[in-house]
């Protein structure tokens, strides 16, 4: 009873995050798809990884990607996202080059 978790319990945020293995879907578009060699990937990671670290992982495998880092924007679950956004299980992360629709 005393230890029952509560959605409102503030103490949860004081507990250091426990590292867990999660799976995320990763998408590349346009030029980035060509540089990454594929448009879609599924990757196992840990839940403290950020979008920035995820990109770095691919950039290490495909050095050409690293050159485009400053002109890439990231999204998480179809919303533009900051590079320091941590990943969560089941996330769909996409790396997007400058858009040129119209």
């Amino acid at each position: 009873m005393l230890l029952a978790p509560s959605r409102n319990a503030g103490y949860n945020s004081l507990v250091p995050p426990v590292s867990q293995t999660i799976r995320v879907k990763v998408l590349f578009f346009g030029r980035l798809k060509e540089l990454a060699g594929k448009g879609e990937d599924s990757i196992e990671s840990i839940n403290t990884t950020t979008i920035e670290q995820l990109f770095a992982l691919y950039a290490a495998r495909h050095p050409e990607l690293a050159k485009y880092r400053s002109s890439v924007v990231a999204s998480r679950n179809q919303e533009f996202a900051a590079w320091d956004t941590p990943l969560r299980a089941g996330d769909e992360v996409a790396f997007l080059p400058p858009v040129s629709g119209g």
Partner: protein
């Protein structure tokens, strides 16, 4: 949120866009004006003759962003209906790649909303075009969409 979204159209298509049908769709008896933007494939890019274009999209996000633009139009302008359709795949010279039609009781709102819609689409909707020339192909220069710089919890207090 807008109240008339059920009459709005947001689509990604692979077939030719029926410009006239969409322009008619937004017209209603209570309106007095409709403005249509018809974007189509130019025969050259930076003075190089273009053979054709190939468009691709992050489809689920592109549609979500198009709907967001539609909602913004209803919030910002006194308009009635919106139709916004973008074509994907291979497009030949002269074919319509994007069509935006906006109706309104009065013309000023329709003009302004249509302009806002195409400008915002070009800046924020995840669609890309590759331009094919006699001697190769290039990804068109685009615009980097504005994205959050840091997650809120990471922002320093100010």
């Amino acid at each position: 949120m807008a109240t008339l979204l059920q009459h709005d159209i947001f689509q990604l298509v692979r077939e030719p866009i029926d410009v006239a049908a969409l322009a008619r769709h937004v017209r209603a008896p209570e309106d007095g004006a409709a403005v249509t933007f018809d974007g189509f494939v130019r025969n050259q890019s930076h003075d190089r003759p273009t053979l054709y274009l190939d468009y691709e999209a992050y489809e689920s996000m592109a549609l979500a962003k198009m709907r967001e633009i539609g909602a913004q139009l209803h919030e910002k302008y006194r308009i009635h209906r919106v139709a916004m359709v973008h074509r994907l795949g291979r497009l030949e010279i002269g074919e319509t790649s994007v069509l935006i039609a906006v109706s309104a009781p009065h013309r000023a709102a329709a003009f302004e909303a249509c302009r806002f819609a195409i400008d915002t689409l070009k800046r924020t909707v995840p669609i890309w075009k590759k331009e094919y020339f006699e001697d190769g192909a290039v990804w068109a220069d685009g615009e980097l969409p504005p994205a959050p710089v840091a997650t809120p919890r990471a922002k320093p207090a100010s």
